[in-house]
């Protein structure tokens, strides 16, 4: 995390432009500029700024937004709430569908279903999510008018279902991008498990194929999928940013984009730090899940 922090801090500082001039406008006097810089600590040496930012970060202080002149956390936390709702929704759609797709493709290997799923999944994955987002809006929102074009219900107090309804299109855009990868890995590991000796044992014990697949193949085959899903989380987050912007969703991605545009250092740096924290936590969760499901790793830990 420290390395991430270092990279984040210095990368944001490379962004061009005089920050104070940007915020205060052309009419600002030199004195105004100096005051602004003093207020946000921009007059101090870079390393001192880095140090104080790190120290604040560790105590939970995310700094002050220069654009809105209020604590960055006040901006970020609600946005994170919205984003996690979208992310959770996407995750719940993507993971079961992709894994099911992979299993179906493996079971009918070489057949038409398999071809459609693997070729279709990979073709969809090479198209960027914002293109999908725009296409989906055009087809379902504008032409067919079956689903809302924005991701966020604007009027009144939205019901739970209307919120879900609004999230369908953005989630689908993410699904289309990630489905190919996850389904492909799942397919490969299911095929490997289907051809294993223990699957043969199961069939020769007299299990029906369906039962043998459920009891003997799935658990072994899903182990690699977990690792892949965890590795796709950064892409999911990256995809979120793009999708939120297209659907005009007041989430994390929108805030981050505005922060980059406005050189809002505190928001930008803290936002990226939080993102990486999420990614690291996901990897950790995936590793733990992997160990729980895989007795070989578990016994190595307990020994």
């Amino acid at each position: 995390m420290f390395i991430v922090a270092t990279i984040v801090f210095f990368l944001t500082r490379i962004l061009p432009g005089n920050v104070a001039r940007r915020y205060l406008g052309r009419s600002a006097t030199e004195e105004d500029l100096v005051n602004f810089n003093t207020k946000f600590g921009l007059d101090k040496p870079l390393l001192t700024q880095f140090y104080s930012w790190l120290r604040d970060l560790l105590t939970g202080d995310l700094g002050t937004s220069m654009a809105f002149n209020k604590p960055a956390s006040e901006l970020l936390l609600p946005a994170i709430g919205y984003s996690s709702r979208l992310a959770l929704m996407s995750f719940l759609i993507i993971v079961p569908l992709s894994i099911a797709g992979g299993i179906i493709a493996a079971m009918y290997r070489g057949k038409l279903v398999d071809r459609i799923l693997t070729v279709g999944g990979l073709s969809a994955a090479v198209i960027p999510e914002f293109v999908w987002a725009v296409t989906l809006i055009l087809v379902f929102g504008v032409t067919l008018e079956v689903l809302p074009v924005t991701a966020f219900p604007t009027r009144g107090n939205p019901s739970f279902f209307s919120q879900i309804e609004h999230l369908i299109l953005p989630s689908t855009a993410l699904l289309l991008v990630l489905f190919g990868y996850i389904a492909r890995i799942t397919r490969a590991s299911v095929i490997e498990a289907l051809e294993s000796d223990y699957m043969r044992t199961a069939v020769l014990k007299g299990l029906s194929r369906r039962r043998a697949v459920v009891t003997h193949v799935l658990r072994n085959a899903l182990l690699p999928s977990i690792a892949v899903i965890a590795s796709q989380v950064p892409y999911l987050v990256g995809g979120l940013v793009a999708v939120e912007i297209v659907f005009n969703y007041p989430g994390f991605g929108t805030i981050l984009r505005d922060a980059v545009g406005g050189r809002d250092y505190a928001v930008l740096q803290s936002g990226v730090m939080l993102t990486s924290l999420v990614i690291v936590l996901f990897q950790l969760a995936a590793d733990i899940l992997f160990a729980v499901l895989n007795p070989r790793i578990r016994s190595r830990i307990s020994e």
């Binding site: 020769l204 007299g206 003997h216 072994n220």
Partner: protein
């Protein structure tokens, strides 16, 4: 006993589709197994043994298809059954045990649950199933059933895993048990235990067994009748006695002749081979399937497939010359090796390699594991030293230490031709590296599959001899031709070659630097017996011509006995016995050697009483006190020196000239007990 056979194959034909082309794998195989009978199928790899076994379970790979004939289980045609009917048979009436037991168990499910599943399939409740699973495991003589049931497959040894698989297969008292190479890959002592177990259980349950093995000794011990498969055809069939004592098909005769049997030695006997190579999968034949390799071949053999000839009651051979097969001329590969610029080597008998106090300890999770413990050996010029012992005895580690692939511990000394060698390879000079080379068990993994055969050998010549690339290519061709790899194959890649040819390439590479000593680590274990014979002959020729010394590692005691002048028996990283080949094999033996020798089923049919070793090999991280063999020693009880055995580790003593042993029991006492 009912008259309906348990299993009958009637003119069974199986085809595999390889890239859309159908290839015959079984060409009309017929045999039947009576209830309670054990029927063995033998033959080299690719002849269709396993296909026959899986066909009997009606379980063929996706591209396999039964294209004709019938499989009758107790008179009912399995080829006409629905998937459900076959599943029901598998649940209760037929079951199977195969090679590689650890892979046959689901890695993420506990053993208890896997065994219990068999009973659950029959509709038992979970608790009943678990209870029965425990009983099934107890029946295969697993001592600590409760703990085994809670374990996962990776926590079991190979022998234990095979017991579990057997327990699962026998759980429902099946009427037919199919065993496909059930002991291949297990240590000799474990193999003997598993085979004893199967024999006992069979006596108890009266199950009919279809037993498949490439190991003729195992078949001889386990089976009532034997069928010999070649290229998907059953070429000979008869009672075990008849097949082994009166083989009547040239293939059977050839197979039996290529095995290094007890008593044969490289100095006096050259091994027979079977000329040529087995036909490719799905080759077409007008006549006999064996024509291309048969020494008795005539025109009529090429024209039509001989009908099965009745050699005796219950003995059939599919050959026109079944009466002449036993007296057929020996097939010995011509001696044509010319390998090196004949370097002047000291004469045979002088010492070449001295290993003094060789030790290696690894640290594993904070504990010290002594894998090799104070090993001292010597190898003379032109001599072969055989290393034997169960897996984990340290054979391969010793080889690696000598070669410097792994650095040995302080105090170890490796002296080659009077020169003390550095501990690791990177500190040795090119001449030292070239002087000692290795041939591995699996040439598939040892040869770079992207390089041509010439390049593989020529690189070694360049590195070790300092030749430029033209010279080294010439030298590579010379070497390869000397090893009888035809010139037309020199530009091939290893994947295009058969196993035997690949091993020849690997041997050529090892000889690139005119080595003084070559370590052969299980060089023939992955090969068929006829190919094994040609490789052993080649090694012997090379030795006679160049005076090369070998360190030969093998779990096959027959092979070691044939090729070795001296033998070191290892247990838990220690030399327990060392001496001339005939001293070690002839006895009196160290108790461990005795047990090891008695566990090998030999093909001459002589029944030796098995001296069992109790328990399993202890972990080298926590060796027993005193003599490391004492918890398992078959001769300690009643020897009168038990007190010594459990407290003091014996020294390696010279018990007769040139014969060393690490044992407290007096030599004469061992002689007396072993002869009685």
């Amino acid at each position: 006993m009912s008259t309906t056979p348990s299993l009958e194959l009637r003119n069974l034909q199986v085809q595999y589709a390889v890239r859309g082309i159908k290839k015959d794998v079984l060409r009309g195989v017929s045999f039947s197994i009576a209830p309670g009978e054990a029927y063995g199928l033998v033959g080299e790899s690719g002849c269709g043994k396993s296909t026959a076994a899986f066909a009997a379970m009606r379980y063929l790979p996706r591209n396999g298809k039964i294209s004709g004939g019938q499989i009758l289980f107790e008179g009912n045609d399995m080829t006409a059954m629905s998937a459900d009917e076959v599943s029901n048979l598998r649940k209760s009436a037929i079951s199977m045990v195969y090679q590689n037991p650890i892979a046959a168990l689901n890695p993420t499910v506990r053993i208890g649950d896997q065994v219990a599943e068999v009973f659950e399939l029959l509709g038992e409740s979970e608790s009943d199933a678990m209870k029965h699973a425990a009983e099934a495991l107890a029946r295969v003589q697993i001592a600590d059933v409760d703990s085994v049931m809670r374990r996962y497959p990776h926590q079991l040894s190979g022998g234990m895993a095979q017991r579990v698989v057997i327990a699962m297969a026998l759980a429902t008292n099946p009427r037919l048990l199919v065993m496909d190479e059930p002991t291949t890959g297990l240590d000799a002592t474990v193999e003997a235990e598993v085979l004893d177990l199967v024999r006992d259980l069979r006596r108890e349950t009266g199950t009919a067994v279809l037993f498949i093995s490439h190991n003729l000794g195992v078949i001889r011990h386990m089976c009532d009748r034997v069928g010999v498969l070649y290229a998907g055809s059953l070429v000979e069939q008869g009672t075990t006695e008849e097949i082994f004592n009166n083989p009547s098909h040239p293939y059977t005769v050839g197979l039996l002749r290529c095995i290094p049997r007890g008593g044969l030695h490289k100095n006096t006997d050259r091994l027979d081979t079977i000329l040529g190579t087995p036909p490719a999968l799905g080759a077409k034949f007008d006549g006999c399937v064996f024509v291309d390799r048969c020494v008795l071949v005539e025109d009529r053999c090429r024209a039509s497939m001989p009908e099965p000839a009745q050699v005796g009651p219950q003995h059939m051979a599919r050959c026109f010359h079944h009466d002449k097969a036993q007296s057929m001329p020996r097939a010995i590969d011509a001696v044509q090796v010319s390998v090196s610029a004949p370097a002047s080597r000291p004469t045979t008998g002088t010492r070449l390699l001295d290993i003094d106090h060789l030790s290696k300890a690894f640290t594993q999770e904070g504990r010290t594991v002594r894998v090799v413990n104070d090993v001292s050996l010597s190898v003379g010029v032109g001599e072969t030293l055989g290393l034997v012992g169960e897996s984990g005895a340290g054979k391969t580690t010793i080889a690696k230490l000598i070669l410097g692939l792994t650095g040995s511990d302080n105090g170890s000394n490796v002296v080659l031709d009077g020169k003390t060698l550095a501990a690791t390879l990177s500190k040795r000079d090119v001449a030292d590296v070239g002087a000692m080379q290795i041939v591995f068990q699996n040439p598939d993994q040892a040869l770079n599959r992207r390089h041509s055969v010439t390049r593989i050998v020529s690189r070694a010549v360049q590195k070790l001899r300092g030749f430029n690339s033209n010279e080294s290519d010439d030298r590579a061709h010379e070497l390869l031709s000397g090893m009888r790899v035809e010139a037309s194959l020199h530009s091939a890649r290893p994947t295009q070659l058969s196993g035997g040819l690949k091993q020849r390439v690997a041997i050529s590479r090892a000889f690139a630097g005119s080595p003084q000593l070559v370590v052969c680590d299980e060089p023939t274990s992955a090969l068929d017996v006829s190919v094994q014979a040609t490789i052993l002959n080649l090694l012997v020729d090379l030795q006679k011509q160049d005076g090369t010394s070998f360190i030969f590692i093998s779990h096959d005691l027959g092979v070691v006995r044939y090729i070795s002048d001296k033998i070191a028996v290892l247990y838990l990283g220690r030399v327990v016995e060392f001496g001339d080949s005939n001293q070690v094999f002839g006895g009196p033996h160290h108790p461990y050697t005795e047990a090891l020798l008695s566990s090998v089923p030999n093909i001459d049919g002589s029944v030796r009483k098995r001296i069992p070793l109790a328990g399993t090999v202890p972990s080298p991280s926590n060796p027993p006190s005193g003599c490391v063999l004492n918890p398992r020693c078959p001769r300690m009880a009643g020897s009168g020196v038990e007190g010594l055995c459990t407290t003091v580790e014996p020294e390696l003593k010279e018990v007769e000239p040139g014969h060393f042993m690490r044992c407290h029991i007096p030599f004469d006492q061992l002689r007396a007990t072993q002869q009685s």
